[in-house]
Amino acid sequence: MTQSAPGPRVPDEELLRQHVDGDPDAFGELVKRHQDRMWAVALRTLGDPHDAADALQDALINAFRRAGSFRSESAVTTWLHRIVVNACLDRVRHAAARPADPVAFDGTEIPGVAPATEPSSDPAERTALRVDLEQALATLPADQRLPLLLVDVEGFPVAEAAEMLGLPVGTVKSRCARARAKLVPLLAPGRLSATGNATGNHGGGGDVPSGTPQGTGGEHR
């Protein structure tokens, strides 16, 4: 979690209450605290800065208006992100007619990247890895990308991500699992040479027979 600790500053809940009570600056402060994270979610979900800006603006206006309906059983961050997530999903649905992902990512453009467990000391190489990751993320269907973003990239606990997404915890876990499985062939070094392309969902290596009689493990709702 990269969110800075409240420390001595006014807690989020208090800022939200001040906003509801008419303090003209409270909401702006709240936005300032969380906007970079909300932006990261919106941008990675939608892929396009203009769409992301639209979604973030919609979300914040919505939050501004609906602040009074905030219930303190969830954290303000969770509440805010839930609104951002919904604004993004709205846009994903509306954009469904359009080509959703500008990056036509078929795996052929991936160089063998260093495993993330051994981060390269070369900044350029690290940037390359990051770009590949971002591109790989963009290939995931939105219903898998968002859960994975919230859990693995943003570091929210699964239960919080589930609340943001309005999905059962089991469904979020399942979608994250499937999303990670799709990323394995895109990111693992040597995988490409073994499989030739990244479209297969079998990740066991070049000699893997596809399909198995074992349980297919459908989504658990």
């Binding site: 501004f64 495993p115 062939p185 079998h202 066991g204 074992q214 493990g217």
Partner: protein, 275 residues
């Protein structure tokens, strides 16, 4: 070793790791994995995917253009007064319609009724009769925020007892909705002020005959809002500045030619473009 068996697909291994397989399947897959180096390696790679994702920045700096857009939109929202009013559905008895209406508000605003009357930064709508769980005196806060002396009340509140209509913003959007009768009629008049109809007519006049006197008049507002200025005219005690807002002409009645959006005499009016 069960090497001759087919390997479970990667997503099943991922689900095993995530603990979402049903018990029977999990046992079966685990039994395979225990004897299969290939699948163990795949599980390792799955874990590395998470490690790699965790290494991505969780925060990305909001670009300048986005930050500016959003703060402008929030300022307009604040000016409209709808957001500052407590909107606690169910917090007040007899507030059901209001709560419902507030939830509808975003769509109502976006739909922009034929004459959208938006309130002003100083005219923060306040639920004076709130009795909310926060229990603080929001009317005083609003006054401190630059609102006029008279007590303000959100025009969204059905039980508005102050008769003040300065915050008359949501009322205009109410015209887009049918069953909010108590707030509908209030906003079309702005007591002791220039009627909306007169302002609207003045805006149309400026649009037809765009002049700005003096030449710099209204530029401060145009700069602030990032909208092209159409023209200005003296109306009542103030200066009416008309800006081109892409789909509509916004008329702002300002105290002076140099005023910004926080020095307005009336809620600004928006006249949709004819074409």
């Amino acid at each position: 070793m069960t090497a001759t068996e087919a390997h479970p697909p990667t997503h099943v291994l991922a689900e095993l790791a995530e603990g979402v397989l049903d018990d029977a399947t999990a046992r079966e897959v685990q039994a395979h994995v225990d004897g299969c180096a290939t699948c163990q390696a795949t599980l390792d790679e799955l874990a590395q995917v998470t490690v790699a994702l965790q290494a991505l920045p969780a925060e990305l700096p909001v670009p300048e253009f986005v930050a500016a857009r959003i703060s402008h939109a929030l300022a307009a929202e604040r000016a409209s007064g709808s957001g500052a009013a407590p909107s606690r559905p169910g917090a007040d008895s007899g507030n059901g319609t209001v709560a419902w209406f507030r939830r509808r508000l975003p769509q109502g605003l976006a739909a922009a009724a034929s004459v959208a009357v938006l309130g002003l930064a100083g005219y923060i709508a306040v639920d004076g009769s709130g009795g909310s769980d926060a229990g603080t005196s929001s009317a005083e806060d609003a006054a401190a925020a630059g609102a006029p002396e008279q007590p303000l009340s959100s025009s969204l509140d059905g039980n508005d007892s102050t008769g003040s209509n300065r915050a008359g913003t949501a009322g205009s959007t109410a015209t887009a909705d049918d069953d909010t009768p108590s707030v509908q009629d209030e906003e079309l008049t702005t007591p002791n002020h220039i009627p909306v109809a007169e302002l609207t007519a003045a805006v149309e006049q400026i649009v037809q005959n765009p002049t700005a006197t003096p030449a710099f008049c209204g530029e401060a507002l145009a700069d602030e809002l990032g909208l092209p200025r159409v023209g200005t005219a003296n109306v009542g005690a103030g200066v009416l500045v008309v800006l081109d807002n892409a789909t509509a002409y916004d008329g702002w009645l300002l105290e002076t030619c140099n005023s910004r959006s926080n020095e307005t005499l009336e809620p600004h009016v928006s006249v949709p473009k004819a074409e």
